[in-house]
Every structure is written in C-alpha cells, then in structure tokens.
C-alpha cells in the first residue's frame, strides 16, 4: 500500500511574507481619516458642488474647482470675483463698495454647507463600513488579512476529511506579471484605485461576463490581471476550484491580489471607505432597478437577471470556503412531509417528525469511495487541484487489505480511519477467530502448528514497528485475550482448559463412538446436546464480543488517548466490528487440511 501525502494544506502557511512594503495599519487609517477634515475635497465632491451650484438661487452660478477651494479657505475676495450666472450674466456681490447684490458670505456659506453635508454622509458610510469590518473581516474568506478564519477552517477540514478546498502554492511563474499589476495599481490616483478595485473586486472574468457599463475603464489593471490569468491558466471556468497562495503586493499599500482557479481579482486588505462614483442629488437615490439583486452581494451590478448557467455563482458563493455555506447550497428537493418552501429568499419549512439515524456499523464509512487502486499516478488531477484525477479507478473493496494490493487515498484522518476499518472488516469477515489458529498463541498452544518443531517463519514480521514513531505503542495483549477466549470456550464445552484448546470444539463423533452409551440415548443426547452447544456457543460468542470490545478499547483507546480524545468514535467502530463476531460462523471441526488428529507429529505440515 502506498499513500499520497498531500502537502497542499501546508502551503498556506508558507505564503510569501518577506519583502512587503505595506504601510502599517494605523498609518493607513490615520491617512484615511484625513478625509474627515473639513478642508478635504475629493474630485467627485468638487464636481458635485460645481454641478449643484448651477441651480444656485434659480439662475445658478459658474464655479471652478479653485472657487470651491476659496470657499474652504474663506477667501471671499477671490471667491466672489467675476462670477456669472449659467446664462452668462455677471453677478453683483455686496462687497468692496457695492451696497446691493448677492451676499458673498451667503454664497460661501451655501458652498460650505453643501460640502459639510456631503462629508457627513461620506463619514457615516465610512463608520458603517468600519463597524461591518469589525464584525466580518476575519470571516470574510478573502486572502491577505490577518487571522483568516476561513483558511484555518479549510485546512482543518482538509486534515480530517481530505476535501473542502485547496490552496495552491505560489511557484513564482507569474511573479513578473504580478509586479506589472502592482506598478499599474501604484500609478493610479486614489479615485482611480477605488474604481479599479470596485470593478475587479469580485473577479476579472466576472467583470468581463457582466460588462457593467457603470464601471469605468481603468488603464492597465485589466490587462495586468489577464496576463496573470494566462500565466496561471485561469480561464474563468466557474467549475474550477482551488485558491492560489498569492504573494503580497510590494508597492501598492492596502491592496491585495486574489486568484482562484475560476477567477482572479484585487481587493482592499482593509476597506476604509466606500468607492464613490459620481455624486448625485439625494433625490436620485436609491435607484430601484427592476430584477436587481441584493445590495450586499450583488450578483451583477447592472441589475440584470442572474445568468442561466447554474455554475456561475454569486461572488460570496464563489469563495473557497464561502461556497460551502448554508446559503450557497442548492435547495434540496421538495419533501412531501414538509411544508412547501417559498419561491425565493430564505424560508423556514416545517417537516413532520422523522428521525433519521446514521448507520452505525463500519459500513457508514463514506470514504470507501475514496480508496483507489495505486497505479503510480497522482491522486489529484494536476489540471484541476482539489479534484481527484479522472484516471484513477476505485480499489477492489474485497481485496483492499490483501497483501499484494496497493491502495491510494488522501492522507486525511477520515480516509486513514476508513482504511483501517475496512481492513478490520475484511480480516474478520474471512477469518473466524478460532483457537489455536492465531500465530500469537504459539507461546502456549502447540497444536496443530507445533511451533516447537517448526518455527513460524513469519513470526514477528508483521507485528514489528517499521519506523520510529513519536509515541510508544502499548503492549500487545491480543494473545492473552485469545487465551481467555479459549479457556472460556473449553469450559462451556464441558472440557477442562487445555493447551490443545482446538479440541474443545464439540464433535458429535466423539460421543457417538462411545461404547457405553446406547444408540437411542445417544441420538437423543446428541439432539439435546446440539441445542446446548448452540446456546453455549451463543454465550461464548457474547463473551467473545465482550472480550473483543475490551480488546478494542484497551488496545485502541490507549493509543488514541495519547493523541486525541475524540477518537472514541473510531474506537466505537472497532468495538462494533468485534461485536459482529456474533454473526460469524464458528467452526465446529478441526482444520480440514489437518484431518483427524492422531499424534502431534502427524499434524506437522
């Protein structure tokens, strides 16, 4: 048996860390907080004020961006100099000797009031975003943030069940393309950077697919993303799964690159403010879009209906771990016992009480389908990480534990346990626990194998520990338990415990050959005895099951307690397995190949 060690999970811990030129978090926030200063003017705000003042006092006023700055600086002489209405009529202000006309302080006040209102709205938005960040950043399942709960949970799941997403190590093939992207982003103005991230946050290929006209073209960023996609062989296929451990951007602070096998994009490491598009009058908001999607995670930004391809998921449900979320699962088929769910949104349905129990036997091991024949090929599809190679064939379940069988499976807790379970099942199914047929009995029993004459050539070969292990296996007590079992069996059969315990099995020929018993009574006694023996066997089998359970607990629990308490379920499975001994047929005759026992030497092979 060979086993594939999946090292992918560890690669997430090996993300490139060095060489990053990211600003510190507090410096980023401090820089951002400048937007709350009353004298901070963004391009959009200047444009908005200019447009809005075109309706000032009915006839409007032409204002340049410098005029708005003069208002901030309270420089009235510059602000109110040579102003005209929209129609081009000069506006007279009460200043510099003029005693009639418009009030320059009034104009300045109107501009400042407009700016203050708009800034307040922006800061409320930033506060809202900050509060949301405080709840969600660690859980957002996006890379490059400290403490990624999603990745941690994904790695844990992978260790246990061998699935649940994959992290693809960064091999550096697209380093120069990432550098180009970094340079392109660093060259953008803050406003353009906002636009670029708004556009490509949820994916370059998603953007291409949706072609939202509301998004601006930002030079260089899309091309740089496409170049990275080509290098990483990302084609936009929504069925592909796997997340690249992308490097940090070295020049552009607070921006990160994410790349999955289905798409790639850019994101704010710490979102600080909402991207502002063109600011318009409050009366224009909110714009109701027919068939629009939810606000929080828009499927598309132009309000179009979702794509018909079911594989194309919403941005949240495309994420590595988010895709497994409750809301991202397909709706289960309608159950007759449940009330009918609503057509849309989250609906609670009421179902009639019905208890479903998981099969408790080892058959419940779902990973049986994940044991493959080892033909030398890789377990994972090199073209589609996190997917099993399509060339693999399922292992022959009847022969999984046969000595010459080579099995390949994911190196996970569940798969290993499954393999162990299955080996135990096969072992017990084919080999009834018969006294004296265990090699380990050689210290006490000598027949029919006569180890004193011929030493078991295999002894010790399979029970030794092949490699040094971090913990000591407990002493093996299987042979002692089997001896207990034999003694019990002999006593129940009316025989004294004997080293040759194999002869404790009931044989009707012994009784029938007895000369001092009448044939009639013999027949009747045989009949009765057969029933008694059957009962005895039941009792013995119960005892065997108990012994087996004890063996399982003592053997396995001692091992498992050292490493993990919750492995009781595995131990329980082993115990269940041994309890199944009850159903195993108990051989009533000596080994057929040995023939009638005569002398000890005659039994030697």
């Amino acid at each position: 048996m060979s086993r594939l060690l999946v090292a992918i999970a560890f690669s997430a811990l090996l993300l490139p860390q060095a060489g990053s030129a990211q600003s510190s978090l507090f410096e980023l926030v401090y820089k951002e907080a400048k937007r709350a200063n009353p004298d901070y003017l963004s391009e959009q705000l200047i444009e908005f004020v200019g447009v809005e003042m075109q309706t000032w006092r009915g006839s409007g006023i032409w204002l340049s961006s410098d005029d708005i700055k003069y208002a901030i600086e309270k420089n009235q002489s510059a602000l109110c100099k040579d102003k005209t209405t929209i129609a081009g009529t000069p506006i007279q202000f009460v200043m510099g000797g003029n005693i009639s006309g418009e009030s320059c302080i009034g104009l300045q006040g109107d501009i400042l009031s407009l700016i203050a209102s708009e800034q307040e709205a922006e800061q409320l938005g930033a506060d809202l975003l900050t509060i949301a960040n405080g709840s969600e950043l660690a859980l957002s399942n996006e890379p490059h943030r400290p403490l990624e709960m999603g990745k941690m949970a994904m790695l844990l799941k992978r260790t246990w069940v061998g699935s649940g997403g994959a992290v693809i190590p960064w091999d550096g093939t697209a380093d120069s393309e990432v550098q180009t992207l970094d340079s392109a982003l660093a060259a953008l103005t803050p406003a353009d950077l906002d636009k670029a991230i708004l556009r490509f946050h949820h994916g370059y290929f998603r953007d291409q697919r949706e072609a939202d006209p509301a998004f601006s073209v930002v030079a260089g960023v899309g091309d740089a993303l496409r170049a990275i996609a080509n290098k990483l062989r990302i084609t936009g296929d929504p069925t592909m799964v796997g997340e690249f451990a992308t490097p940090k951007l070295k020049v552009t602070p607070n921006v990160a690159l994410w790349a999955r096998k289905d798409d790639l994009g850019i994101l704010w490491v710490y979102p600080m403010h909402f991207a502002r598009g063109t600011i318009e009058r409050a009366g224009e908001y909110p714009v109701m879009v027919e068939n629009g999607e939810t606000l929080a995670y828009p499927f598309s930004y132009k309000g179009s209906t979702p794509p018909t391809d079911p594989e194309i998921r919403s941005p949240l449900c495309s994420r590595s771990l988010g895709r497994f979320g409750y809301l991202c699962r397909p709706q289960p088929p309608f159950d007759e016992d449940c009330t009918r769910p609503g057509s849309d949104g989250i609906t609670l349905v009421k179902c009639s009480e019905k208890t479903t129990e998981t099969e408790s036997s080892p058959k419940a091991c779902a990973d049986l389908e994940n044991l493959y024949s080892d033909t030398g090929g890789p377990l994972e599809d090199p073209d589609n990480p996190a997917h099993v190679s399509p060339d693999l064939e399922l292992a022959d379940l009847e022969g999984i534990c046969a000595p010459d069988t080579k099995v390949l499976y994911q190196d996970s807790v569940a798969s290993n346990t499954c393999y162990i379970d299955h080996c135990l099942i096969q072992s017990m199914r084919r080999h009834t626990l018969i006294p004296n047929r265990n090699t380990v009995l050689l210290n006490e029993a000598t027949s029919p194998f006569l180890a004193c004459i011929r030493r078991d050539p295999q002894l010790g070969r399979y029970t030794e520990i092949a490699h040094p292990t971090p913990f000591a296996f407990p002493p093996y007590i299987g042979h002692l338990l089997t001896i207990d079992y034999e003694r019990e069996y002999c006593v129940k059969n009316g025989n004294a415990p004997h080293p040759l315990a194999g002869y404790c099995a009931y044989r009707s020929s012994r009784r029938s050959n007895s000369p001092d018993i009448m044939q009639f009574f013999t027949a009747a006694a045989m009949n009765i005895e057969a029933q008694e023996v059957a009962e005895d066997q039941d009792t013995v089998l119960s005892a065997a099951a108990n012994i087996g359970e004890r063996a399982a607990l003592e053997q396995s629990a001692t091992v498992q307690r050292k490493v993990f308490g919750s492995l009781a379920s595995f131990v329980q499975q082993v115990a269940d397995l041994l309890l199944e001994l009850k159903n195993a047929p108990l051989t009533k005759t000596p080994c057929p190949w040995t023939g009638p026992f005569k002398t000890s030497s005659s039994a030697a092979p």
């Binding site: 246990w160 290993n416 993990f564």
Partner: protein
C-alpha cells in the same frame, strides 16, 4: 412706601431665596463643607481627571490631564509630538497585527501571548501605574507598580495613550501664541530671544491656522485610533476560536500521522490474524 436701601434689598432677596430654595441651599452648603474638608476636586472626580497639573488623591489613580511624566513632557513642537504619537501607536498596533498574521507562531500551551511593545507603551503611561507604597525616585508615578498589561488590554492602553495625547494637544492649544513666537507652528523651532520677529498680522493668521491644525489633529487622531480598534475587533473577537482551530489542526496532524502508522499496521491484519496464510502459506 419708603425706598429700600441696597443692603436691605440684598437681605430681603437672600431671605426670599432661602424661603424658596431652602433644601437646595442646605445641600450645597453640605457639599461645600465636604469638599473643603476632604479636598476632593469635585469636577476632577466627576470627569475622571483633576485638572491641569493636579493629581487625584481620592481615587487611587495617577491619571492627570497634564504632560508630566508622559512621553510628551517638555516637547513643544507639534509635528514632533504628532509623529511621536503615531509612532508609539503604530508599534503597539503592528505588534498585534503581526501576531494575528502568523498563526504558526501561536503557542498552544501558553495561556496568553506576551505583547512586549504594548507593555512598553503601558509602562510609559502614568495612568497605567497605581499608587501603592511610597513613590519612587523623584516622585515619578512611573516608579509605582504597573497595572497588568494583558493581551486584551490593548484597546485600553491605546485609549489611555490617546487621552494623554489629547491633553497635550489642549495644552499646546493654550500656548498657541507662544508656539508661533518660537516657530513651533511652522516646524522652525527656536529658543525664546533668538527667534525671528513675528509681526502682528502674521501672529493673527498663524495662531489661527495653528489652532485649527491642532483641532483637526485632535479629531483625526481619535477617529483613526477608534477605527483602527474597530478594524482589529473582528480579529480580536475571533482570536480565541482561531487559536483553538490552529491548535486542533496541529493535534489533528499528529492524529493523522498516528492513524497513518496504524493504517500501515492494519494492512497486515489478515496475516496476523490468519494462521492459514502466515504459517502454512497455502495457495
């Protein structure tokens, strides 16, 4: 009717006040007597501080709204003070961010990670010490024992540092004219007497601009720190669970390795249990 004299009018008014507000006056007198006897700074006690330069003796706190014994003590240049504040906060915040960023360094057996930079900052805060025993050399509050600095103390320590910073900014604002005369408003500090002359027009403009800058900085620093703490909140909130997951992951990796060995051993089960194949090698 005769006109009442001023003194008799006052007495009359007092008598009238006494009649109307007898209870209120009694309460105020009692409060005044208590304050005088115990020397409690009522305003300071109510507001959590004791006014500039004062030290509360009643609440066992060394918090004051002065720069005495703080990292800002004796500094007059606003830019230098602002940089110092940002630098100190950055050190403590980055320490925390970097700790969160590297789960591979988390210790599963230690109860609490040590935060040396946070502790160093707390040690510089008079308010993070508490008066017990005699004061140290020179009466420095920093010689008193340090309050515990836990992993969870981050926001509180930074909040206390911000308070000291705000107090310093208020003090700078009160000395705005002096700052202009000594060139500290334009980052050209000079010693009094050796400074370039400042005319009255300049003084009027520069003092106003300087005070506006201080006002904006005070608001911006608080906003930035509060938002930083908010940004860290989700990491703080999920840290314990994350650490459990990481530690469980490590244990799971061990378990997986053990099961791996066990699987190897189990693959030999048929031979161990079945003498038919192991002893007789029957075909």
């Amino acid at each position: 009717m005769t006109a009442a004299s001023p003194s008799s009018g006052l007495l009359s008014a007092l008598r009238d006040t006494w009649r109307r507000h007898r209870l209120l006056i009694v309460v105020m007198v009692i409060l005044s007597v208590v304050a005088a006897l115990t020397q409690v700074n009522l305003r300071g006690s109510l507001l959590g501080g004791t006014g500039t330069g004062g030290t509360s003796s009643s609440e066992g706190s060394l918090r004051t709204c002065s720069d005495a014994w703080t990292v800002f003590e004796g500094k007059e240049n606003a830019t230098e003070i602002m940089n110092l504040f940002r630098s100190e906060v950055t050190k403590a915040v980055e320490e925390r961010v970097q700790y969160f960023e590297k789960p591979s360094n988390w210790k599963c057996m230690d109860k609490e990670p040590s935060m040396p930079k946070l502790r160093a900052l707390a040690a510089k805060l008079p308010g993070w010490h508490y008066p017990q025993g005699g004061p140290g050399a020179g009466g420095s509050p920093l010689a008193f024992p340090l309050r515990p600095v836990l992993f969870e103390s981050s926001a509180s320590v930074l909040g206390e540092f911000l308070r000291e910073y705000e107090c310093k900014i208020v003090a700078l604002d009160a000395r705005a004219t002096y700052a202009v005369l000594t060139g500290n408003d334009i980052d050209a500090p000079c010693l009094p007497g050796a400074c370039p002359p400042v005319n009255s027009a300049d003084l009027a403009v520069r003092v106003g601009a300087y005070r506006e800058r201080l006002k904006q900085e005070r608001s911006r620093a608080r906003l930035a720190l509060e938002r930083t703490l908010h940004l860290l909140r989700s990491f703080d909130a999920n840290y314990q669970a994350a650490r459990d997951i990481v530690c469980l992951q490590r244990a799971s990796l061990d378990l997986r390795s053990e099961l791996n060995l066990l699987a190897d051993t189990t693959s030999c089960m048929p031979k161990i249990w079945d003498a038919l194949t192991s002893i007789h090698d029957r075909k």
